[in-house]
């Protein structure tokens, strides 16, 4: 990321940002990321993000949990140390369902959390770029990587202003 130059458009209103994203993307400009103090409905669609495939991760982690739990209960209760409980089988299936369920949920939840942290670069070692500290307060911020765009700095700056940005700053990282 060294020596990257970003144009940072600051908006006063979430709606303005949303429409600016639509307009600017329509002009063929690639947007690095939008930063808002709160979630804005439809912004993910406007930015062109595809639906996250977290469900796939959840399924894979979940099924791992199911298998581990079945293996665990089968090994401990059925093979290694069988205990006679009320004359039932050594591996009665309904008895194991709570454990299977719990381990499935546990692994799916932890797996999804860690996947999310990893994919979004939110781990303890990550060094996020702060484009504008006010984006956690009352400003809506749009960052555009100049190196990845064909249009010049002035043209993009003009576009941002036209679509309602109250200020346009340059940030070099």
């Amino acid at each position: 990321m060294a020596d990257s130059k970003y144009l940072v458009g600051v908006f006063d209103d979430g709606d303005e940002l949303l429409h600016a994203v639509e307009d600017i993307r329509h002009q063929g400009v690639k947007i690095h990321e939008a930063y808002t103090p709160f979630a804005i409905h439809g912004l993910d669609k406007a930015l062109g993000y595809s639906f996250p495939r977290m469900g796939v991760a959840a399924f894979l982690f979940g099924i791992t949990g199911t298998c581990c739990a079945l293996l665990l209960t089968f090994w401990t209760m059925g093979v290694d140390w069988p205990i006679n409980v009320g004359g039932k089988n050594f591996f009665p299936f309904p008895t194991n369902i709570p454990i299977v369920f719990e381990l499935t949920v546990l692994l799916a939840a932890f797996g999804m959390s860690f996947t999310f942290f990893f994919m979004e670069d939110l781990g303890p070692t990550s060094k996020p770029i702060i484009f504008d500290v006010r984006s956690t307060d009352d400003k809506f911020v749009l960052a555009i990587n100049l190196a990845k765009n064909k249009l010049s700095e002035n043209e993009i700056s003009k576009l941002l202003k036209e679509s309602g940005a109250s200020e346009v700053n340059v940030k070099e990282v």
Binding site: H19, H41, G42, G55, G86, P98
Partner: protein, 445 residues
Amino acid sequence: MAHSTHEIPSTEEKFEFKSETKRNLIIAALLGVVMVAIGSFLLSKGWSIGVWESHGGEHAAVGHESAGHSEHGGEHGATLFTRIIANIWMNSVYFLGISIVGAFFIAYNYIAKAGWSSSIKRVAEAMPSFVIVSGLILIILMALPSTRHIVMHWTHDGIMDPVSEHYDKIIAGKAWYLNLPFYFIRLIAYVVVWYFGWKAIRKYSLLEDEMGGLENYYKGRNASKLFMVFFAVTASTSAWDLSMVIDTHWFSTMFGWYHLASWHVAGLATMMLIILLLKDQGYLKIVNESHLHDLGKFIFGFSVFWTYVWFSQYLLIFYANLPEETIYFRERFTGFQGRYWWPFHISLVLNFFFPFLILMARNSKRRPTFLKLGSVSVIIGHWFDFYQMHMPGIAKDQGGIGIIEWGTTLTFASLFIYFVANELSKANLYPKNHPFLEESMHHDI
């Protein structure tokens, strides 16, 4: 707000209940009655079309393993008439639940101040109009001694009398709760309070259409709160009174939840199906795929909830392995020549596995085809659920699934659709002055 350009459809929309549809529904209801008659005739001649049907009672009372009924079952052996009454009782309870869930849905959405549901509110509002029909049938069945003896084992003469030969100590111990005067008070209270609770909510909703303003919204919310307080208690007690006491000896502390979960998810699926069918006919343009997605999540979530409660009940009984409790499942697995094994397991597949797999993905909850499949599966599945709750206790070895069952269900379903469609046609399809309707129009998830 995201789609500033999208068009806002008109909030004036009225459902037209065509006289042709009315006629067809009445014909279907009568056809159901004819089917019951034909089915009974064929069975009395010893012919059967359908599964697990016994032939003219030749297997009557052959070594079934019911502890509770074997002592007293002798003088009241199950007959063909038993089976018909059992069907009417079962369908009444099932459709009573589907109907009242409409009011339940509105009540909790009002209390939660939910906005998204206001555009589909009129559909839920129309459903409880059938409560009075189901309720009256249940009251009549209990009022007539000949039919109440068939449904409720505990109403038999002398069963609570220590000197009688039919004396049953366990049932006599429940006499403080299971006595006819108290039972009638409860049964009538359910039907009357549910019906008029819904009427009150409905009244304020219709007044709102005429007058506008917030006054009727607040009144409707207060009515919802009162309804909810009553329903919270009676949802459980009605589960005991309508379903659990059929197997008088047996009880389960999970039963109220289980029964309500069954009613609730079946009612939601019915609501979904009505909405989708209305949309197919060009109504309910405001309802977009986000509304369907939310309602789909409800169906998905509550079918899993039903399974959770069902399994919790099953696991405790399985694990504790007490004979007086396991008899309930034994009757359903191997009792009565195993005739209830299939309904029991079909119910599990249609209520859990199928909707779980088909409605899991986000995209399938936004597609009418998948939602229709899931809803129909849940509606049929919970019919089987109620079937296996009621039949082993009432119809015993006369139970089966044949023309009689299809006919009774057809009659009830046609009448239900008739009542709901009739109620829908009485008012605008949107609560046009509802304070949250605007929010609901822009619902986007």
